[in-house]
Symmetry: C2
């Protein structure tokens, strides 16, 4: 049964923090539109919005209707948002301007790739259009390295960023074994610990898994206690003579105060009202000082170092192959649902039952994902500073093949 579809323009945009595979989703949307609705004469023009809805309201658009296919395929494998991204969080007035622009452009199809803030933009625009009686099909294509979208098994962008953590902690653990000491690595993730937890993959599955780092993992979901942290480090250090620590940038105390808040003099706020934690080495430095000043170790001077991985986590050009594939498919699925006549929704990746990993794609309601945050479930943790076997079984199939590291 062919759905009745209005002829019009299709808009596509990218929003929020870029990832290694967000351009796969962009190219997925464009390719599927061209292969379907454009070919059928329903969509006349495919416009990319420069820097998300910011480009839409400013009229900064790029025509992708006949953009060279070879270039598109190279864009798909390029990290970060090729159309440009945006941190704008549209208020009702802003959304009204978005809708006005859609009407002016004769847009009937609106695809927005992003995280929970972006799905909320999608929801508001969709509701405004419906309220105004203007037919606009609004679809959210999921993207976030934080893996914190409701309704999904995991989110495009996360597997590649998780792969980065595995590679980084694996190599850094070898470095830490070469020149022993306490090494603290600060990982992105304000509210959800999925990315920090992925560091556990670095231990591998071989004979050295029990002594490989990371030895301690701290996520925002479990209250961080500075005194207990020292005891944890001391316990590991006294056993192994070294200690590698994975810490989420968003760790909080029992009163839900960010640990970094008590340590940083200067806190900048971004336009979403979140505290800006990335690109700042202060949390790692402060934790390192805390260990240096308070940990009692007999013998030689304790070597303590901290790294804050920063933006490389979300753009490193070695994506998980599964992530690349799924991000492309998620973009295509959004277009397929629009072509079937659905009015709005968000694409969720779920995991097929069975021993072999396989992704399935569901259409869920925008209200089920918009502006909500998913956290690590309790059974993904083991104690207060480690992840469970269940989490490892969850994350391992996502990240692709990892190198094997050998010790003497």
């Amino acid at each position: 049964m062919a759905a009745k579809l209005s002829k019009g323009t299709a808009l596509i945009g990218q929003s929020g923090g870029p990832t290694a595979v967000i351009n796969q989703s962009l190219v997925g949307v464009v390719e599927e539109l061209r292969a379907g609705l454009v070919k059928r004469g329903i969509v006349k023009r495919v416009y990319g919005m420069r820097h998300g809805v910011n480009g839409l309201v400013k009229g900064d658009l790029v025509d992708l209707t006949r953009y060279p296919g070879g270039t598109l395929r190279r864009i798909a494998t390029t990290p970060s948002a090729a159309l440009g991204s945006s941190r704008d969080k549209p208020d009702p007035d802003y959304c009204a301007r978005i809708l006005d622009q859609c009407k002016d452009l004769g847009a009937r199809y609106f695809f927005y790739i992003g995280g929970n803030d972006s799905s909320d933009t999608c929801r508001i625009v969709s509701e405004l259009a419906a309220g105004a009686g203007y037919e606009l099909r609004c679809f959210h294509v999921p993207k976030t390295i934080d893996n914190d979208l409701m309704g999904s098994d995991h989110t495009p962008g996360y597997p590649s960023a998780a792969r980065f953590q595995a590679l980084a902690f694996m190599s850094d653990s070898m470095d830490n074994a070469s020149l022993p000491g306490v090494k603290i690595n600060v990982v992105m993730g304000r509210h959800a610990g999925f990315l920090t937890a992925a560091a556990a993959l670095a231990r591998g599955t071989g004979k050295d898994a029990a002594r490989n780092g990371p030895h301690l993992i701290y996520c925002p979901e479990i209250p961080f206690d500075s005194a207990r942290f020292l005891q944890d480090v001391e316990r590991v250090y006294s056993k192994l003579g070294r200690c590698q620590v994975a810490v989420s940038e968003g760790i909080q105390d029992a009163n839900h105060q960010p640990i970094v808040a008590t340590l940083l003099k200067f806190l900048e706020k971004d336009s979403h009202g979140n505290i800006q934690l990335s690109g700042v080495g202060a949390l790692g430095d402060a934790l390192a000082d805390h260990v240096k000043n308070n940990l009692k170790v007999s013998g030689s001077k304790l070597r303590v170092r901290a790294d804050t991985f920063g933006y490389l986590q979300r753009c490193w050009p070695d994506p998980s192959p599964i992530d690349s594939k799924e991000a492309r498919a998620a973009g295509k699925m959004a277009v397929k649902h629009a072509a079937r006549g659905e009015m709005s929704g968000s694409i969720a990746i779920t995991r097929a039952k069975g021993k072999v990993y396989r992704a399935e794609y569901q259409l869920i309601q925008l209200t089920d994902v918009a502006a909500k945050t998913r956290h690590m479930p309790e059974d993904f943790f083991e104690g207060h500073c480690d992840v469970s076997r269940k989490f490892l079984d969850y994350v391992r199939p996502l990240v692709g093949k990892l190198p094997v590291m050998e010790r003497i």
Copy 2:
């Protein structure tokens, strides 16, 4: 002509900051020993020193004479120092203990993989042994991501770390184009700018090379002026609407004072008397604050971020294939020179004349490399904040194939 060689033990150690390929050199030495001097019955035992000469004086050794070949081959591809490394800088008393241990072990062959401090240890031990009339063949196998050893075209470890910079700046430049602003990345390198300079590879050679980052490159060899830095950033930002900056951790002012010294309250010294600059986000944060506080940009609030790449630079598990090959060969060459009857020396990689890149291996005197620092030659720079075409021609063949990134 077969040289007259004393029968005895061979010692092998790793020292200084680990690299992605230092284990290639270790395995090169061990394999070449086993294939030659061990087979010929001249070397009875091959001992690895745990944590360099520190393990030697403590008697912490590992027998590699018959260590499984398959394990060795996996160790070769594992980043960081498999024997453990050391930051010890032996004084005369320490070196006397090293010599005593060599005598006790009947060691006649001493191979030490490391940078300029390690070559100096090699030199002192060699001279002490000669002075004591004890026959000990001492060879230094070069290793440093800083690329600052005299007598070499480049040093094993540098090509892989340079590759990391290319990949990091390339991806981060795309991220910076997605969410425009000023992005400052702090790169390892206390005295020599080779590694920071390698960021220029990220621009690629295609149509976008002129607008791709990094847009500004600051190395320790050229005095850093904070006011001129602001002018540079403003010039780029006003033209491109963004600016990606590569800064060496060792940048200095005209009076040879580290820029970071004026910005950090707390400076830790490592046992070589060098200021500890890695693992500390303070330089990047301070430079970012400097730009935020002083750069006048019309329109919206300027977005400024800083990352300090930290230890991942020297251990990332994606080495340059040429680096892996050369590091292995450098280890083998040291053994070959010992087997030919040479008493001591350091392996230097030089570049064969001709259009196609090819490495050659020379034996140079320990005194030519020990405790000396090579800097970027003047003709590798272009102005005060860029590298020359000559530098790019020098570095490009070393790093292996790089991904191509595409823009809309």
